[in-house]
């Protein structure tokens, strides 16, 4: 069994990637906070992680026949979903700036956590190589 980075790093690599993508989507929402008719969007982080987890653990359903249905939940392929606004505005914009900003901050914090995990994996590998 070969040692690969994918196996050594586990889910954290995917998590970090998803965090970066989410940061971009949220930044776009914030930039368009004053654009008439703009609809706020987001990704389903949980569904994306579930899919990544399945691919890492290798426990996803095999599709060996063209009639087999995809069992992954909607949004797991990184589809951009629309947000349900709490207070729809007259100009059709559904961005709630304060909420988006708190989500962006939270996402940045989660990014740091994922980063820390990934970084620890690397330092663990280095330690193992050095045999200290």
């Amino acid at each position: 069994m070969a040692i690969t980075f994918d196996k050594a790093l586990g889910i954290h690599e995917h998590a970090l990637q998803a965090r970066v993508q989410r940061a971009e989507v949220l930044a776009n929402n914030l930039a368009n906070a004053d654009t008439p008719g703009y609809k706020a969007r987001d990704i389903d982080f949980r569904a994306m992680m579930q899919k990544a987890q399945e691919s890492v653990s290798g426990l996803q359903m095999a599709t060996t026949h063209h009639g087999h249905m995809d069992t992954s939940s909607p949004g797991s392929d990184g589809e951009l979903l629309y947000r349900n606004p709490h207070q729809p505005s007259v100009d059709g914009n559904t961005v709630d700036a304060q909420e988006e900003q708190s989500r962006f901050m939270r996402n940045a914090m989660d990014y740091q956590a994922s980063f820390q995990f990934l970084s620890s994996k690397f330092s663990g590998l280095t330690k193992a190589l050095k045999g200290e």
Binding site: V25, N28, A31, N32, M105
Partner: protein, 150 residues
């Protein structure tokens, strides 16, 4: 799809908001600019914002309008144009004014100063928000450079 895109997105937001602030400044500065005819009178200027769709920038690669992350989540905001307000001009009877017409009337712009002040605060807040986003993206990027270091 990377952190670098956030800089472009936040940058476009800052550009749009500063342009909005520019029009506000121009409107307030000209709030009391009198003129002798309706054609020459200053009218309040308003920018029109529109979202940039990444999928539209390279239509041969993508079919949709950014429904998936692969199409890109959009690329920020742009100013589509600047419109002049259709609101009615203020007509005042000031026969001693040097710009008064034959009937003694002068035309003042349709600038609503209270509205402009509210607009100014809104755009400055939005600008700040974009600066915050950019700062956060910067610290995220700096962090990734330290990956693997002890």
């Amino acid at each position: 799809m990377s952190l670098g895109n956030i800089f472009d997105i936040a940058g476009s937001g800052m550009t749009a908001q500063s342009l909005r602030l520019n029009t506000t400044a121009s409107n307030i500065a000209n709030a009391e600019t009198a003129s002798s005819s309706t054609e020459n009178a200053y009218r309040a200027r308003k920018p029109v914002f529109a979202a940039i769709q990444q999928a539209m920038l390279n239509p041969d690669q993508h079919q949709g309008f950014g429904t998936s992350l692969d199409d890109g989540p959009g690329a920020g905001v742009r100013v589509e144009g600047i419109l002049e307000s259709d609101a009615e001009l203020q007509m005042r009877y000031e026969p001693n004014h040097p710009a008064a017409n034959e009937d003694g009337y002068v035309f003042y712009p349709n600038v609503n100063v209270v509205e402009e002040m509210a607009d100014m605060m809104s755009s400055s807040r939005s600008f700040q928000m974009n600066v915050d986003v950019m700062n956060t993206a910067k610290s995220m990027m700096q962090r990734i450079l330290t990956l693997g270091q002890q």
